[in-house]
């Protein structure tokens, strides 16, 4: 990520409550993003191809271990916390897309501020206020994990500042004050002073304490670890929340722009055609050099209709279809990412099992299609202001500056996101809206149709995994050889030369869930990445769900070959390493929840699967019923170790929702591509899982700890494998391709 010091600096000086000269007093170590790390490694790779051949497994392991990090934490606590006569407002430097991050971070803040939830107003940070450079990039289930301590430290700093002012007003030492429920009380007296009065009494800039504030101990927590009501839901049930599609300004018009008919097609010529004379059309905007042809109209449907009437010609682009994509994703040759023991001799012992697994392209299918509102005055000067649902406001700033000038002042307001699952990481539609606004001088809103949203997207890349393993009648696995192939995820959206990607041989996103977590005498993993003619990219969990489907299905196949219980076989191959012990614990917990040892009637079965991602460990047992020749999932029991759980209610929703999304992938979702275009472009042809097919999902948190790990993605991982294993256990076939069909 590049630096956006200009934006942050401008924001700080523009706000009187933010001291410009305050030195940084608390911070977390900057950790680079996977993307950034990959780019750095990339240059080394080119320089030393011989070294990389042997170093690649260590590099892959190192990159996986680093995980997603936040990049920049602001210098002053007052960038996040605004103090006014009404009280304290938290400008949350992360995006709310349903994951409940505004609530969880508000809980962490309230804990240290010592206020009740109602005493802390919570708003979305934007590039004018609360923006902490790339910390606002919301991805990789990293928000709560990375900001849990910084938010608490900032909140405690604010509490200390307020205490100092209160002590001054009350004429006592700050040590004589206790804080609770937004009020300071003088110990041993009845004297009290509310935070709001403290703030009202204050004059001049706030002084942050030199000492790092003392944080509360876990046993003192009254907010962290307790289920909290969502801070955004009252507005949502009243219909008052502003999502990207809802952004509006007086006098605004509606825009639409032409999208290519096939992947890779570019605009060659464009003329208004019949669009100009159509009802409500205010302007046709054509800039072939920028690949842009759009319209502005007085209603949205008229804009949509007019854009279809533009006279356009496109370059050929790709005519790819599902079969061609599948043929390109073929496991086999590649780079070695793990080697342990002597795989050749290991596969010469015991029973050898071979199996191949495939997963298809899948869409994010967030229910709110992409949208943006832009307002900028005509000409090359003036502020570009956009309202956009994005996980990455920084990318929007960069995109707008690329289109309208690097020096241009850009203000990005992030709205609520109606789902995202990785898709709204990059959100170029703000640029298209800005082009139309620039041409008309009016605020212009673009809201995509569902069909455009499904077609102009990137998708979870398909995978092919070939596994060979040997297992003895003693139930010990002798070794596993794995050949994995997948389309790009991170490399598809990050700028890195193809030559470097080729030498590197793997995609950082494809590493998620790629490695068997079991302790095996011999293990060899050969990986292959492919750049596909279809746009691919981050989808909830990146490689986690496709990879886990293959690996955790295969472990069950080995168990079956050995005549072993799938749970016991897993437990027997987990060693004393910390992550392995956590895996064993969640496996045992999920099995207990699901009464693993109790027999089921004929036609029903249980399947178990597990995975680890972003520090969180998950196991689950799915139960299926195959009676009547129909596949029904009748229940899922999930055990999660995500460290400290900040908001149990919110984390439970994340886990349950991940199971449902995982079941969608397991049972239904498969993007259909014909002639270089997505043909499954709405919910009639790309059916999502509905209520009728959703079983009860029970969630249990085990483990605990001092710090939280991610909850946005990990639980999606094991779902398809658990279901496939349950189908086999119920006497059904071994299904090795998603979606699972009897």
């Amino acid at each position: 990520m590049t630096d956006t010091t200009d934006t942050t600096g401008a924001a700080r000086t523009a706000d009187t409550t933010q001291p410009a000269e305050t030195p940084r007093r608390w911070r977390v170590t900057r950790r680079r993003l996977l993307i950034g790390a990959g780019a750095t490694i990339g240059s080394l790779v080119v320089a030393a191809p011989a070294v990389i051949e042997y170093g690649r497994p260590f590099l892959a392991e190192w990159m996986l271990g680093r995980g997603p990090g936040s990049a920049e934490i602001p210098e002053s606590a007052l960038i996040w916390f605004e103090l006014t006569g009404q009280g304290i407002t938290l400008h949350v430097p992360k995006i709310e897309m349903g994951q409940g991050v505004h609530t969880a971070l508000a809980q962490a803040a309230a804990e240290e501020l010592r206020v009740t939830p109602g005493q802390l107003a919570v708003v979305q940070a934007d590039t004018q206020r609360g923006f902490a450079a790339s910390a606002m990039f919301t991805f990789g289930s990293s928000s709560v994990a990375n900001l849990y301590l910084p938010i608490r430290e900032a909140a405690a700093t604010v509490r200390e500042m307020l205490a100092a002012q209160a002590a001054l007003t009350l004429g006592v030492a700050a040590q004589a004050l206790t804080a609770a429920d937004g009020v300071f009380a003088v110990t041993g007296t009845g004297r009290r002073l509310a935070y709001t009065e403290v703030i009202a009494n204050h004059r001049g800039p706030w002084q942050e304490p030199d000492e790092k504030p003392v944080l509360r101990q876990a046993h003192e927590f009254t907010s962290i670890g307790h289920s909290a009501a969502r801070v955004d839901f009252r507005a949502k049930v009243l219909g008052e929340a502003t999502y990207g599609y809802d952004a509006r300004l007086p006098g605004m018009a509606y825009g639409a722009f032409a999208v290519p008919p096939r992947f890779g097609a570019t605009l060659l010529t464009a003329e208004p055609g019949d669009a100009r004379g159509m009802p409500g059309v205010q302007q046709v905007v054509i800039d072939v050099a920028a690949g842009f042809a759009g319209v502005v109209a007085d209603t949205r449907t008229r804009a949509w209709a007019a854009v279809r009437a533009l006279k356009l010609s496109w370059s050929e682009g790709s005519h790819v279809d599902n079969a061609a994509i599948e043929a390109q994703i073929t496991a086999g040759d590649g780079v070695v990412l793990r080697r342990k023991g002597w795989i050749g001799s290991a596969l010469g012992e015991g029973r050898v099992v071979e199996a191949e697994y495939r997963t298809p392209l899948a869409a994010h299918a967030h229910l709110e299609p992409l949208a943006a509102l832009a307002h900028l005055p005509a000409g090359a000067e003036g502020k570009v202001e956009v309202w956009v649902p994005t996980q990455s406001p920084e990318s929007v700033v960069e995109d707008l500056r690329a289109a309208f000038g690097e020096k241009r002042e850009v203000v990005v307001h992030v709205t609520q996101l109606g789902g995202s699952f990785g898709r709204k990481g990059g959100q170029h539609v703000a640029v298209e809206a800005a082009r139309l606004s620039a041409a008309t001088g009016k605020p212009v809103h673009i809201g995509w149709t569902r069909e455009t949203d499904m077609r102009q997207a990137f998708y979870r890349p398909p995978t092919h995994t070939k596994l060979r393993g040997a297992v003895g009648t003693d139930g010990r696995i002798r070794g596993v050889e794995q050949h994995s192939a997948a389309g790009d995820i991170i490399w598809a959206v990050a700028g890195l030369p193809e030559g470097v990607r080729r030498v590197l041989g793997f995609d950082p996103g494809g590493l998620l869930g790629l490695f068997l977590p079991y302790d095996l005498p011999a293990y060899r993993l050969v990986n292959r990445r492919e750049r596909l003619p279809v746009p691919t990219g981050p989808w909830r969990g990146l490689g986690l769900l496709p990879n886990t489907f293959a690996l955790e299905s295969f472990i069950d196949e080995l168990a079956e070959a050995a005549g072993a219980d799938p749970l016991q076989l897993r437990l027997a191959h987990l060693n004393d390493e910390p992550e392995a012990r956590r895996l064993a614990a969640v496996l045992s917990a999920a099995a207990q929840m699901a009464r693993w040892d109790e027999p089921l009637p004929a036609g029903r079965g249980r399947g178990i699967a597990c995975s680890g991602d972003v520090g969180t460990i998950v196991a689950m047992v799915a139960q299926v019923d195959l009676s009547g020749g129909r596949l029904r999932v009748t229940g899922v029991d999930v055990a999660v170790d995500c460290g400290l759980v900040v908001n149990p209610a919110g984390a439970t929703l994340q886990a349950q929702g991940s199971v449902v999304m995982g079941l969608g992938s397991a049972l239904r979702e498969e993007l259909q591509i014909r002639d270089g275009q997505v043909v499954s472009d709405n919910f009639d042809t790309y059916p999502l899982l509905g209520m009728a097919d959703t079983p009860p999902v029970r969630v249990s948190f085990v483990g605990g700890g001092e710090v939280p790990h991610g909850m946005g993605e990990p639980v999606v991982g094991p779902v398809p494998a658990a279901v496939a294993n349950a189908i086999r256990a119920a006497g059904g076939p071994r299904l090795r391709t998603l979606p699972l069909r009897l």
Binding site: R230, D232, L367, L653, M691
Partner: protein
């Protein structure tokens, strides 16, 4: 479009108030959202498959993306914005029991709320004590990509309780 433009005299009765509308030939969804600023009703698919655009027309859940505004005529329309009890100044005095239940038992992103809330409001109006099957049947046509289907069932059951208590 099956309905001709009827001119600016077209009126709709929305959340108890009459509104003059300019584009009676547009789907009700876009009239609500873009002409009247009632953005609580959401667009998700435009083919009546997801339920995000659900409103009540004469008390029945209707997919507003599938209805031309002119076809609604004088039938009363209720949207998310029209459910709460408000004072003369328009301030919320009390949430509708279904709204309160979804605050107590929230979903995740909330884009699908119109479908789930409106179908629950209609269900409770005709059956104040629905069993689990009735709740599931009423909610089933609406999608939730965040996967909150079990939460939705719990919220509707809670709404029924709240409505009976009040």
């Amino acid at each position: 479009m099956p309905y001709p433009t009827m001119g600016p005299a077209m009126r709709l009765l929305i959340n108890g108030r009459h509104h003059e509308i300019e584009h009676p030939d547009e789907p009700l969804l876009w009239v609500l959202r873009d002409e009247l600023g009632l953005t609580g009703t959401h667009y998700g698919c435009g083919i009546g498959a997801c339920g995000c655009c659900t409103v009540l027309v004469s008390g029945e859940p209707v997919r507003s993306c599938q209805v031309i505004a002119a076809a609604v005529g004088e039938q009363p329309v209720v949207t998310l914005e029209g459910l709460a009890t408000r004072d003369a100044a328009g301030e919320v005095v009390a949430l509708h029991p279904v709204q309160q239940a979804f605050v107590d038992t929230p979903l995740q992103c909330g884009w699908c709320l119109p479908g789930h809330v409106m179908c629950a409001v209609a269900l409770l109006a005709r059956d104040p004590d629905p069993d689990e099957a009735a709740i599931a049947q009423a909610a089933a046509p609406n999608l939730c990509r965040c996967g909150g289907y079990n939460t939705i069932k719990a919220a509707v059951a809670r709404a029924a309780e709240l409505a009976r208590e009040s």
